[in-house]
Amino acid sequence: METTKTKEIVINTEPFVVNFGPAHPSTHGVFRMRMTLDGEVIMDMEPVFGYLHRGLEKLAEERTYTSCIPLTDRLDYLAPMSNNLAYCLAVEKLAGIAVPERAEYIRVIIAELQRIASHLCAVGFFLNDCGAFMTPVLYMLRERERILDLFDMVCGQRLTYNYMRVGGVSQDIPEEFIPALKKFLKEMPGWLDEYERLLKDNEILLARAKGVGILPRDLAINIGASGPVLRASGVRWDIRRADPYSIYDRFEFDIPVGTAGDCYDRYRVRVEEMRQSLRILRQAIKDLPRGEVRSEVPHLIRPPIGEAYGHLEGPRGELGFYLVSDGSIAPYRFHVRAPTFINLTALADMMRGWKIADAILIFGSIDICMGEVDR
């Protein structure tokens, strides 16, 4: 007699590979993520770089020290002032050049404004990645516009400033700058409060960002994460405080840190940092001295043979320049420690197991700039 056996039906599903990018609305440039998906769930992710590689490090080897400054503008185009400053710090360290007091203050003011501008972009586009259709980012760009106007006053540029010089800044700030900055400082806290009211306790944002893409503390240190990504994981490490460059040791400010290291914490840390930057700005314009804005520096700088690593706390993390001099007018080696490039190291670990929508969110919360990642 035949026995009817119930056959167990097994549906075999296969993971499939999707290329997110290089041309994709949310890859913030031309980044490519080769995702292996099981339905919506990410099994694995491999980042692919190099679509914006321009060989800046090689280019710099054939330029004089001063003419490398415009190259640094093209690194992180959302925070060129910080890049200028980091490079100038490295050259000053290499050649032993002093900076006048007023220039130091101007540098701090400009760098902190740049941090606010960059964080506004970061937070805005993070929310855009979260699916809030353009509204937050457009409001934040409105405020960023105010900062760009201020930069425009200072150096006549809105994107690639080329303002910092070795030994100071290219020109003094105009008279109308300080009143305009004061007005900005008066209005900005109100705007920040407005965003906080709208976003901080937004139910959907909490559901989407809390607990998502956790970067544990130990891993964050091990991968060399820096900036808001590191601090959101609970590490109180800010180069402005740990290794004060310029005159940051004269200002009072707090270092906001997160606890969980998730996307929400990274967003919170950025917002709090904007407040701290406003605090520094207020102190800086109070003490701003009169005087020179640039020390006597020869037209062609010939640093002594040697090497120097100058770094600062950029908006996206520790931005460092490793310069080697052979005594000539051009750097022998010009290496950029790009914070976003290194922050991406753990991207795959953060994404595994989450869904496509989360992947975009996690990627957005790291806040990268392809100009800096690929160089």
Partner: protein
């Protein structure tokens, strides 16, 4: 007839009526869609601190016409390894049902193509056919973004159809009829007051069905580029775009008819009341779109099955009980009761309910 529904001198001939209304509906849909596109872009611009289209015509009113012209003369690109026939057919399948819905929507007392006695059932049935077109588009495009987008859409429509239909049943109980005409006639008090919870559930579910924010996962531009439309260009893309707004228009019209008292209202001519209400509903949809971030797919499913469905069942139960036990009670008494029920249930359920479950171990 107790209620005068037909305006005087209405063309009585069956075929004339049919022909006139076919034209009226098409013109209405196309004009309203163009107006909606303009409205959405302008309203969003105002909400987002920018200007929006303001060059073509007064206040940029001709912008949609200009866009339509541009889209018509665009190259029609068909992906090399796509399923050509299905790819061609998909926009049509998606667009037609969105227009068909208007066959039973009364613009005026008696002014509708067909007063079906199962009107609302027809609406529910027809409006979910669009999804077939969308899945055809996603499948035939031979693109992974498209497929993912289409699958998300199918999943969300299948889930949300249930709470949407269940929340409509409450209205049907109150009106005692499935005919759209009768439902409007029954609304001496707009049903939004009598069925606040039903309205909330229906509106939420409908937003998910027409894939509007915060449920716009299907085209999720920050994730899936454009979802099922990724590989479409030219007029086919235009048809999808049209279908999307036609769906939004259809949902606005259904909400107007079922919950807001349709064409009824004092002073102004009925058709103006109808259009005005439709525009207001659509404006609310736009408002929501500019305000909230997007949900994730598992959260979307959780919302449908764990939040909307139980509440829709409870709403149905309560409405049925009210009708069964207090048939004679004045409807005005039910309004505060129903509002209280809604507030209590929504608050209670949002405490119990947790969105999604997050990470999967791989």
């Amino acid at each position: 007839m107790a209620m005068q529904m037909l305006p005087p001198n209405w063309p009585g001939n069956f075929w004339a009526h049919w022909a006139i209304f076919a034209v009226v509906i098409l013109v209405f849909v196309l004009l309203m869609v163009m107006f909606f596109i303009w409205l959405e872009r302008r309203a969003m611009a105002v909400m987002q601190a920018r200007l929006g289209p303001n060059r073509a015509g007064p206040f940029g009113l001709f912008q949609p016409a200009a866009d339509a012209l541009k889209i018509l003369i665009k190259e029609d690109i068909i992906p090399a390894r796509s399923d050509k026939l299905v790819h061609w057919l998909a926009p049509v399948v998606a667009f037609v049902p969105a227009v068909l819905v208007f066959a039973v929507v009364p613009f005026w007392g008696g002014a509708l193509l067909a007063d079906l006695n199962i009107g609302i059932l027809y609406v529910v049935a027809i409006s979910s056919v669009t999804i077939v077109g969308i899945f055809m588009a996603g499948w035939s495009s031979n693109n992974k973004y498209s497929t993912l987008g289409a699958m998300r859409q199918v999943a969300s429509v299948v889930s949300y159809e249930i709470p949407v239909v269940l929340s409509l049943v409450g209205v049907i109980l109150l009106a005692g009829s499935l005919s759209m005409q009768q439902i409007v006639a029954a609304q001496d008090i707009p049903f939004i007051l009598l069925q606040p919870l039903g309205f909330l559930l229906f509106f939420t579910g409908a937003l998910a069905e027409i894939n509007r924010a915060p449920f716009d996962l299907t085209e999720a531009d920050s994730e899936l580029v454009a979802g099922y439309m990724t590989e479409y260009s030219g007029m086919k893309f235009g048809l999808f775009f049209l279908a999307e707004y036609a769906e939004a228009l259809a949902i606005s019209a259904i909400v107007t008819t079922v919950f807001l008292g349709g064409w009824r209202g004092p002073l102004l001519p009925p058709w103006l009341w109808f259009v005005g209400k439709v525009v207001i509903v659509f404006f609310v949809i736009v408002w929501i779109r500019t305000t909230v971030p997007r949900l994730r797919i598992d959260q979307l499913m959780a919302l449908a099955w764990k939040f909307l469905l139980p509440l829709a069942l409870l709403n149905l139960l309560i409405t049925a009980a009210e009708i069964l036990f207090w048939p004679a009670v004045s409807l005005w008494v039910l309004i505060p009761i129903n509002f209280a029920v809604m507030i209590v249930l929504v608050l209670l359920w949002s405490r119990l309910f947790k969105l999604g479950w997050g990470k999967v171990e791989v």
